[in-house]
């Protein structure tokens, strides 16, 4: 299928979605997992991720009649709604503290065999939560959702150049916080060379 036909099919599907519940369900099923994973990677907690995922799709249902674009643009629109929903969730300090507490409890309850990974997860959560929300979004979209810089730029209503420099700043902050992890890895890389 050439690009023009694919774009036309996408647009037809999106148009159908606005009036046909069955088409909406197809769209929902094909994007549910991505939205849930994104929320899980931003919040590091399943229950919170499920709650926010529900909010995201309710928002989608309420606003789908306004959406114009193809499925790729719909994907970016979804991530944008999810980003706002996650940021709103995290803005509540109590929730954020609870997430950190849950993270520590989960780490402590793991067996010795996976203690290393669990400890790293706690480190990662603390490090990522210390970033401003925009940087958290960029880190998650880049390293967990594997989006390209151009796609992240579209989600964040920004330019790829701006995203690139913000990604560099976010990584520099993470490097400071996760200094030991980065140093250990640097040594391995140097030894390999």
């Amino acid at each position: 299928m050439d690009n023009d036909s694919k774009a036309a099919d996408d647009s037809n599907l999106m148009a159908e979605t606005r009036s046909n519940p069955a088409a909406f369900v197809r769209l929902y099923r094909s994007h549910y997992e991505a939205v849930f994973r994104y929320c899980a990677h931003r919040l590091f907690e399943r229950q919170a991720a499920e709650d926010v995922t529900s909010d995201v799709f309710l928002k989608v249902v309420e606003n789908i009649h306004r959406f114009r674009g193809n499925e790729q643009q719909f994907r970016c629109w979804l991530y944008r709604i999810a980003t706002n929903a996650v940021n709103n969730y995290l803005r509540k300090t109590a929730r954020r503290n609870r997430l950190l507490k849950v993270a520590c409890e989960q780490a402590n309850s793991r067996g010795a065999d996976c203690r290393g990974s669990a400890d790293k997860l706690v480190l990662l959560r603390e490090a990522v939560f210390s970033l401003k929300p925009r940087y958290q979004t960029i880190i998650t979209l880049r390293f967990f959702e594997k989006l390209k810089l151009t796609e992240i730029a579209e989600v964040l209503a920004s330019s790829p150049g701006t995203v690139r420099s913000q990604l560099a700043r976010a990584l520099a902050k993470l490097r400071k916080i996760l200094a030991t992890e980065f140093t250990e890895k640097s040594e391995v890389i140097e030894n390999e060379q």
Binding site: Y32, H65, N84, L174, I189
Partner: protein, 288 residues
């Protein structure tokens, strides 16, 4: 991918985290959504409103420069009822009324400081600067509530929660003042378009494909002789939204454009944190 990115990717790849979706949640949510979807009333279009143009400060001229581009596009869209049937005017108006956020990025042909001091826009060779704009409407959609400009030299203006921040990278200072130091004092939709219509002339429409995406587009040229300006605009025929625009400070579209926006994107709502201003490390804060 640079070294920091590689190291961080390696670090996260070694972390085990259960991110598998739960099918019970997915199915339950699907049922909930279907219930909402079938009960949902049809969306009503918002009534058109009239807004006055108020130039609040010299800096507003910069904001207005951006909004004029958008407004010009919208006006032409409404005026032209003779073009391809694929271009549904009513859909365009309806679609545009749904958007409360606008992003523009491009190049200005004059130093941004000169515009903020209220000087006329005059094209001078070699004085181009990249600029990005983010604008979010207030609830009534009468003006911008939050506003952000980032210039290529690192200068940043940000209006958020009724506070204005201006970062000067040369002196590493942040000037802070209460109120909206920059605002789009009109929001480009509804009857405002009829005001723009008064000063636009000589418009022509051609059809073709976007040079980058290959999508079908309408290319519009027009001028405003009373202010010695001319414009080139591109509208995506699928979304009926403006996607690119150029402006000249002559009526013949001669020479390098004094404004060249290669990305114009409309949003229902821009992410809030775009407008939040973070004081750069070591910057001197000056309260005004």
């Amino acid at each position: 991918m640079n070294n920091d990115e590689r190291q961080f990717e390696d670090f996260v790849s070694n972390i085990k985290f259960d991110d598998t979706p739960d099918s019970d949640h997915r199915n339950k949510l699907e049922q909930d959504l279907l219930r909402v979807l079938t009960k949902q009333p049809r969306h009503k279009q918002q009534p058109l409103k009239i807004w006055r143009i108020i130039m609040k400060s010299n800096m507003t001229k910069l904001a207005t420069a951006a909004v004029i581009i958008v407004a010009v596009v919208l006006t032409v869209t409404i005026l032209d009822r003779t073009v391809t049937p694929a271009w549904a005017i009513e859909d365009t108006v309806k679609a545009l009324d749904q958007f409360n956020g606008i992003y523009l990025s491009g190049v200005f042909g004059v130093p941004i400081e000169k515009i903020s001091r209220g000087e006329d826009l005059v094209l001078r060779d070699g004085e181009n600067m990249s600029v990005e704009f983010w604008m979010q409407a207030n609830e009534e959609r009468t003006r911008s509530e939050n506003y952000r400009i980032e210039a290529g030299d690192g200068t940043v203006w940000s209006v958020c929660n009724n506070m204005t921040y201006k970062y000067d990278p040369k002196n590493n200072t942040v000037r802070v003042q209460s109120g909206r130091g920059i605002e789009m004092s009109i929001w480009p939709c509804g009857d405002y378009l009829s005001k723009v219509q008064e000063f636009m002339q000589d418009w022509q429409v051609m059809y073709g494909k976007d040079a980058v995406t290959g999508r079908d587009c309408a290319f519009i040229t027009l001028s405003n002789p009373s202010q010695g300006q001319s414009w080139w605009l591109e509208i995506d025929l699928e979304t009926n939204l403006p996607v690119r625009a150029k402006g000249w400070h002559n009526t013949r579209r001669e020479g390098t454009p004094s404004m060249n926006f290669q990305r114009i994107i409309f949003f229902e709502k821009l992410p809030d944190d775009i407008f939040e201003f973070e004081i750069p490390e070591g910057a001197t804060v000056i309260e005004e």
